[in-house]
Amino acid sequence: MAEFTIYCARRVITMNPGLPFAEAVAVKGDRILGVGDLAELQTWGDHTVDESFRHHVITPGFVEAHSHAMTGGMWNFTYLGYFDRRDPDGVLWAGCKTMAEVVARLRESESAMTDPSEPLIGWGLDPIYLKGERLVGHHLDAVSETRPIFIQHASGHLATVNTALLAQEEITESNPTPGIQLGGDGRPNGELQEPAAMSLAITAQRRFRADLSTEASKWNFAFEARNTGHTLITDLGGTPMTDSGVGAWKSVTSSPGFPARVMVAGSFFATPMDPDALAQMVVDLRDNPANDKLKFGIIKLLLDGSIQGFTARISWPYYHNPPEGNAENGIWVMPPETMVDALEAFHRAGLTVHCHCNGDQAAEVFISAVEEVLERHPRWDHRHTVQHCQLTTQSQYARMAALGMHANIFSNHIFYWGDEHAAFTVGPERAARMDACATAERLGVPFSFHSDAPITPLGHLHVMWCAVNRRTASDAVLGPDECISVETAMKAATIDAARQLKLDHELGSIQAGKYADFAILDANPLVVDPTELKHIGVWGTVVGGEKFQAGTSR
């Protein structure tokens, strides 16, 4: 019986600078035995040669260091987005380009439902792309006049509901909740703006929440990872640090055939608890792994809101062209003066802290806290990371480099909201230096980039395309001087993301001793036209030596 397998490929891109390219990789069990040409690898002994990737390019499996497991749960509901999107089973859902297509897809879902009281839930609707009349409640009444219908928009900040839902939840024009939009007749038209108004849809919201945290949604999250070439994904802060929250992850990752590794962040906001107790819990989980697919060791903190929601904390001159009545600046999710104490507990426990800082003022608070905590408790190689890091300035990157910090940059924003950032949120100059991968590289801050799925779709080829080309949805180039090379983008998507998560000793590049975790691509990202990066096909992945083909069911 063969002791190991040699995979031959059109090209193996190792991301190991000592041996960047090869033609084959040998895998024994779940580990890489060696990289090289076929003759070299055959010297290890009894083997089989696997030719199935002969026409593919093998790269290290992509590492997504900022995503959320609820990504997988969204597919329990009807997809209504404008862009084509592939579900975890690999089915391509064509984008809904017109209101008629939205209604038709909902009708189809409705007709498949048996319990008449169950709410019909849709997601991903983006009305700015739909031409003509704005979709409101009475359009949804054409789908059903009796079943409550709840449609969450792509932004996450709006919902449209039908008349049956308004009646069920007693949402009337006399309800003072801000955000209940009224129609020409003075009655609620079905559009609910912002979380307070959206939460009036009590039954639908409850159903939505429940389905986002099931084990099935975790499997779907991993299937999406497989479909997009990721072998390590992160659940950055959605999991409550409770026995059942952690237990669900242990259960799915221990099941045979789970197609991804998962780094679960200890969440300081999903479960309020004493920082020292949380730190100890995460240290124990890190040091006593349930299996090789489940990783711990990082803490997620949240400081501010989002730029497109005008809730990120940014420096003067603040927002460029905010909606009328908007506050001057954004919100704090954590009191800035509590940052040092919180950070100190996790820092002293030897954990890496990943702090959500969209705005530069939030980044300033976090960087200053790292500086203060390092003065009190010097510690090498902490890798504390500014997450999102969207408006971080040159001087802040220089301080981050000096302090040993990492950046995880939200490059997908350039495509999805870049036009809005230039026109409304921060104005053209600051928009041009947003998500400044080139500045991070120039100033020596190790960085990765991310999708923040489900905020934008999981997929490092798309994120790479954004960081390399910086093209917005309207095809404008936003800040060409912040474009990075494809080589740098490949590092950010693999080895540098692994390093940020302190997993680079076991994954992130293809070299002997590491997990046999690969992305199997149809084309070589280093060779294709860089504007085509996002169109590279993905055969699937190999995780721990096991093949997982994209678009197949469990």
Partner: protein, 302 residues
């Protein structure tokens, strides 16, 4: 059924203003079933013995922007509380030190709930400095916007100059909101809980235990013109914290309620005879209104 709705009290204010201390006072005074939501990080500092005696429930509230959590934490917690058995009569939400109480209050107009009181704690010693801070100033100032009652705490640590500076600041930021002063967050709990009719007049023997004494006024009369009631509601001075009662009008009975600067009139369904008795009770700072003020407003021609 408005009487079946869970009354919501929101305690807001920046870090260190005394929110948890006030919460504990409120729990000690409440004879209702109280559920508690704490929207803050780190330890819960609630006195556990109080929670037992009120048969209440403490739920720590997950925090986070919907952009990152997509999950409606406050709404979810309120849904869970609504299904508790026995169902609480009151929900007290201690907002995080950086939360906007208006944003929290926005969640309370849902099935099963009604907003009762938004009390915002102000750290008498720190407020002026915090309100001018580049990082948290807008947050701290904004917290006052939704207040029905401002409690200036730690007044023992303020000198007269600081006191009058703070007064100016509060006059500017919360011009219509009743403001009381406190040490150790001690205020008479009568204003934190609903008024019932007839009045729950603060008992003489507990007045001295509870910091600033409040005064209550009541009115009993006959049928009153609706426009008179509206004019009275608008004219109630800032120092009035709460007012409540049934007003008999030619159009039928109306429930009148005022909490801080907010007031409402709600039509009451009455069976049988046309209502003929008006009955009001008002609680506020001493001398907020004169003894005959209600009578003047509702009966005498101007």
């Amino acid at each position: 059924m408005s009487s079946d709705r869970i009354a919501v009290t929101i305690i807001g204010g920046y870090l260190g203003a005394g929110k948890t201390t006030l919460l504990n006072h409120l729990l000690a005074a409440a004879d209702e079933r109280v559920a508690i939501l704490v929207n803050d990080f780190g330890e819960l500092n609630i006195d556990a013995s109080l929670i037992d005696t009120t048969a209440g429930n403490t739920i720590a509230l997950p925090n986070g922007c919907i952009c990152c959590s997509l999950v409606d934490g406050l709404g979810a917690a309120m849904s869970d509380i609504d299904e508790l058995d026995p169902r609480p009569e009151r929900l007290v939400i201690e907002a995080s030190g950086v939360a906007d109480p208006a944003g929290v209050a926005a969640f309370t107009h849902r099935r099963g709930y009604r907003l009762d009181l938004v009390v915002v704690m102000v750290d008498g010693e720190q407020f002026a400095e915090n309100a001018a801070d580049e990082y948290v100033g807008e947050t701290v100032r904004g917290q006052l916007a939704a207040a029905d009652l401002v409690v200036v705490n730690k007044t023992d640590l303020m000198d007269d100059a600081a006191d009058s500076r703070l007064d100016e600041l509060l006059d500017r930021l919360a011009p219509a909101v009743p403001t009381v002063r406190a040490v150790n967050a001690v205020i008479d709990p009568a204003v934190l809980l609903d008024l019932t009719t007839p009045a729950v007049a603060p008992q003489a023997d507990h007045l001295h235990d509870h910091g600033v004494p409040f005064e209550t006024w009541s009115y009993e009369g006959g049928v009153v013109d609706l426009s008179r009631v509206r004019a009275m509601a608008e004219a109630l001075p800032r120092a009035v914290v709460r007012a409540k009662g049934i007003v008999a009008t030619p159009q039928g009975a109306q429930l009148f309620q005022r909490v801080g600067p907010r007031w409402s009139l709600t039509e009451q369904v009455t069976l049988g005879s046309v209502p003929s008795v008006t009955c009001l009770v008002v609680i506020g700072l001493p001398g907020a209104i004169t003894e005959n003020w209600l009578e003047d407003q509702l009966e005498n021609s101007h």
